[in-house]
């Protein structure tokens, strides 16, 4: 520690910090600490003048360690690391003390907050003295991509990558491409044919030399790490192929809710109660008739079957409302005199062209019946005197009446749910699922296609219910993320990760099981564990668990942590 030159910078953050914490007192408290040669206070440390102050001091005063007492490191650690690098010293010689989120924003008592800020800043000074210079590392990246699922998401992602001259392996479990969209007739709100959307993409995928389509194939194992995966895929012939890939896009899609689960609708009991996919099939065949072969006089479309219900799925499936309106238009196109009833609980017309589509549906005299959430219309067979096949008893909130609606055909708008084997896929590629079974993205707003496993991306309805434009956007986004990495050639690996000291490792393999990122592998020949630095997220679980203290967290060494604790005390 001899000869260290530490600079301490306390940020006012405008008044965010300064109105509670006495920043001058914090500055004074670190003056005279071993190694501290400069201690300053400034209005906004993250501003350009603030950063230049650090850079200038490194040059003028020969600083080799820097402490910034400001906001959370999540916010500005990269900013200040850059300032250190600009000054010519290793960026890891920085430590931040969080005196905003942990002091001024959460305490009202200025005295206590100032004391706490002093303790945190002094701890940072103690810690930074023990920092070691760390360097970023780079690993090679395999440019091929594995796409799981041949629906509209998988097809789009595969094409996007192949168009950029990259190799793609497209693995589809079924014997055909197209996924759920292949079962759809027209699309809302512009009534374009789904087949037109798909056929073009399917032919281009099948024709493209860069795309290897594996039908009736399944992923059985995914080994390796970002940039260097090995995917084991069992093909139609039962043989397992090993595919070396650098990235994976999961586009495994959804499964429709089974309408038979809601007893009151009588699906399976009443012959003229059909699910939306059954209607799609009839529409594609061009024959929308009752079981007696007659054109329906009254068609009722029931929204939110399995969705937005406490009994089934609480979430909205997002596509059913517009699909239901589409059915109104399609049924009317075949039977112009048919009366259309739409039983809904909220009309979600959120996208481009959709509100207009809703208005047009109202204008063509679709009758919309607003039911309450968690109320289920009851369907029963009608008597001959009613002149229709069925009667639907529903509560209409808009006039407060219990009404009986005639119906010859009832269409149940089944929602989307996570495929029942989504858990298996999640386990294979090491990603997580939410409580409804959808795969979880890295950040719900800012990182919607990445996952917690580096190199594994998600797109389409395996992530959450969504319509075609959103699915396509996500698939293209995932492809773009992969292409950005490929264009850099190498993958940057953070300098902060865990390391096993093989001299101390007893080969107990405890850490292998604990690592949430499957970043630790076991070397059978050496009988030692080894951390794959590219996969390690530096969470520290293995460091804490190792009974032999053989694992060191870089940038979080025992000595650094102890020094920080002593500084606080």
């Amino acid at each position: 520690m001899e000869g260290q030159r530490i600079g301490v910078y306390v940020c006012n953050c405008g008044t965010n910090i300064a109105k509670v914490v006495d920043c001058e007192e914090v500055v004074n408290s670190v003056r005279g600490m071993p190694g501290v040669v400069a201690a300053r206070c400034y209005k906004y440390m993250c501003s350009n003048p603030g950063q230049e102050m650090i850079t200038q001091d490194i040059r003028d005063l020969g600083l080799d360690r820097v402490v910034v007492a400001a906001c959370s490191p999540r916010m500005h650690e990269p900013t200040f690391r850059k300032a250190l690098a600009a000054g010519g010293i290793n960026p890891y010689f920085l430590e931040m003390a969080n005196i905003r989120e942990q002091c001024s924003w959460v305490h009202e008592d200025g005295r206590a907050a100032t004391d706490k800020a002093i303790a945190l800043t002094r701890a940072a000074v103690r810690r930074v003295a023990l920092h070691e210079p760390l360097e970023k590392r780079y690993v090679e990246m395999n440019k091929a991509t594995l796409v799981l699922g041949g629906g509209i998401a998988g097809l789009t992602a595969a094409l996007e990558l192949a168009m950029a001259d990259q190799l793609v392996f497209l693995v589809e479990r079924e014997g055909r491409l197209g996924g759920n969209l292949a079962r759809v007739d027209l699309t809302a709100p512009y009534l374009d044919s789904a087949r037109d959307l798909l056929t073009d993409r399917v032919t281009r995928v099948l024709r493209h030399p860069g795309i290897t389509v594996l039908l009736e194939a399944e992923l059985t194992e995914l080994l390796g790490y970002v940039g260097n995966f090995v995917a084991r895929v069992r093909g139609a012939d039962g043989a397992v192929r090993e595919l070396p890939v650098g990235s994976v896009i999961v586009c495994t899609g959804y499964q429709p809710f089974d309408a038979g689960r809601v007893a009151a609708f009588g699906h399976g009991r009443l012959p003229n109660v059909i699910s939306s996919f059954e209607l799609e099939r009839r529409l594609k065949e061009g024959k929308v008739l009752t079981d007696k072969g007659r054109p329906p006089q009254y068609a009722a479309i029931i929204h939110c079957v399995g969705s937005r219900s406490e009994a089934w799925h609480p979430y909205c499936s997002r596509v059913c409302c517009m699909t239901a309106l589409k059915y109104g238009h399609e049924i009317r196109a075949t039977h112009p005199d048919c009366f259309i009833y739409d039983l809904y609980i909220d009309m979600h017309a959120f996208g481009k062209g959709m509100e207009d589509f809703y208005r047009r549906s109202a204008e063509m005299k679709t009758i919309f019946i607003l039911g309450g959430k968690n109320t289920v219309p009851e369907i029963r067979a009608a008597e001959p005197r009613h002149g229709c096949e069925m009667l639907i008893k529903a509560h209409d909130l808009l006039c407060g009446e219990e009404v009986e609606i005639p119906a010859d055909l009832v269409v149940l708008m089944v929602g989307m749910e996570a495929r029942k084997d989504a858990g298996v896929v999640a386990h294979l590629v090491n990603i997580s699922q939410d409580r409804d079974g959808w795969f979880i993205e890295s950040h719900p707003k800012l990182d919607p296609v990445a996952t917690t496993t580096d190199g594994v991306f998600i797109a389409g309805t395996c992530q959450s219910p969504k319509d075609i434009p959103d699915t396509v956007a996500q698939a293209r986004a995932a492809a773009a993320r992969i292409l950005a990495r490929i264009s850099r050639g190498q993958l940057e690996v953070d300098a902060v990760y865990a390391e096993v000291n093989e001299d101390f490792c007893s080969g107990c393999r405890m850490c292998n099981e604990l690592c949430p990122y499957v970043a630790i592998e076991y070397d059978e020949t050496k009988k030692r564990s080894h951390v794959i630095s590219a996969l390690c997220k530096a969470c520290g679980t293995c460091v804490a668990a190792c009974p032999s203290s053989a694992i060191k967290g870089r940038h979080f060494t025992d000595e650094q942590i102890y020094a920080q604790i002593e500084g606080v005390l």
């Binding site: 009833y341 109202a362 919309f368 209409d396 006039c399 009404v403 009986e404 609606i405």
Partner: protein
């Protein structure tokens, strides 16, 4: 008990002028903006809903269309162009058809042919009867008083008036049955009927409620027209011999002139408004609206002409004008109970009934609250 929905009802109302009711998505802006919408009659949204759903029984028992004076505020505020004001108007036309037990009102609203044929046939029969009456008695056409004596005409007028009153009263009774004795109507005791009885003449004569609209001109002209019409009716029915007297009968003649001026002004205002689509309420004119205004103009003009000719001593010309006048008056009077003009009876009645219902509902909910407040042992 669940009510049966009839999706065909919208199609029926379309023939009465409802056009855009399905565009409504029940935001409720119309009911919020309506100056007359207040508990327990919040309209027009709920009426729009009854129509969309095809709840025919509810619509028949619905007083709300009569509480609306079509100021057009709701239509102007509607974000979807669902024309709530015009929908209420078409419901009034439809309700007139529902109250009418003869079925003629429904026929005339739906078929232009039936309406015009009816008017023409009655007109021709009147003309023929008029001539036959004079000639069979051997009277000369140039003899104004002799051809059709005022005393005879008076008897005929009374007969016509009786027919008119009979039709209006029976239709009004049906209105009472549908609105006050329906499944949804609260039961009201005779005291409530007595308590609000004064509302009937007040609203009949002044249309006071119309005057509460923000724009006053339509109300003033409407009242002038209504009072002129009633004055003329009274003059013809009770003082015909004085009107037709050779000497000046100042009270009846002055009243008659004022009423004629009032009727001409009112119809001119109504016609020009409809032609120029002056207000939201006048943007959509049903055929029956035109037929009635034109008939009224015809009656007033022929009436004035026959009077002037008579005063000028041109007995023959006056008699022919009188004949033409009566060929308008008789079909008009018979057509009246089946037309939009029956609102003269239905509006004051609806206002009267609505007050009774509101009180009955208050009594019922107070009784309900009292029961709920009873301690449970």
């Amino acid at each position: 008990m669940a009510v049966m929905a009839n999706p065909r009802l919208i199609g029926v109302l379309e023939r009465y002028g409802a056009e855009d009711v399905t565009k409504c998505y029940h935001c409720g802006n119309c009911s919020a903006t309506c100056p007359f919408s207040q508990e327990p009659f919040l309209f027009p949204r709920k009426s729009m809903r009854y129509l969309q759903m095809g709840l025919e029984e509810r619509l028949k028992g619905n007083l709300e269309p009569w509480l609306c004076y079509y100021c057009g505020e709701c239509t102007e505020q509607c974000p979807r162009g669902a024309e709530p004001g015009e929908t209420m108007m078409s419901m009034r036309r439809w309700l007139i058809g529902q109250y009418d037990w003869t079925g003629l009102a429904r026929l005339f609203s739906r078929s232009a042919f039936a309406e015009i044929a009816f008017v023409l046939v009655i007109a021709l029969l009147t003309g023929a009867g008029f001539l036959a009456w004079g000639f069979t008695r051997g009277a000369s056409l140039v003899d104004y008083q002799g051809f059709i004596p005022a005393a005879d005409m008076h008897v005929f007028d009374l007969f016509l008036g009786l027919l008119f009153v009979g039709l209006v009263v029976t239709n009004a009774l049906r209105m009472w049955w549908l609105t006050m004795r329906g499944e949804r109507a609260p039961s009201a005791g005779p005291w409530l009927y007595l308590k609000h009885l004064l509302l009937l003449p007040t609203h009949f004569l002044t249309q006071r409620r119309y005057g509460e609209c923000s724009e006053k001109t339509p109300w003033v002209l409407h009242m002038i027209m209504a009072l002129s019409y009633l004055t003329m009716l009274a003059l013809v029915a009770l003082f015909l011999h004085r009107l037709q007297d050779e000497t000046w009968q100042w009270p009846v003649h002055v009243a008659g002139y004022l009423a004629s001026i009032g009727l001409l002004t009112g119809t001119a205002y109504a016609l020009s408004g409809r032609l120029r689509r002056r207000r939201t309420a006048l943007k959509h004119s049903h055929r029956t609206d035109w037929v009635f205004l034109l008939m009224l103009v015809y009656i007033v003009v022929t009436g004035i002409v026959q009077h002037v000719l008579h005063r000028l001593g041109l007995g023959g010309a006056a008699n022919i004008a009188y004949l033409l006048h009566m060929m308008g008056v008789v079909p008009w009077m018979i057509r009246f109970p089946f037309s939009k003009w029956a609102h003269m009876a239905y509006r004051p009645l609806a206002f009267y009934f609505s007050h009774i219902q509101a009180d009955a509902m208050r009594e019922r909910s107070a009784a309900g609250a009292a029961v709920a407040a009873q301690p449970t042992v």
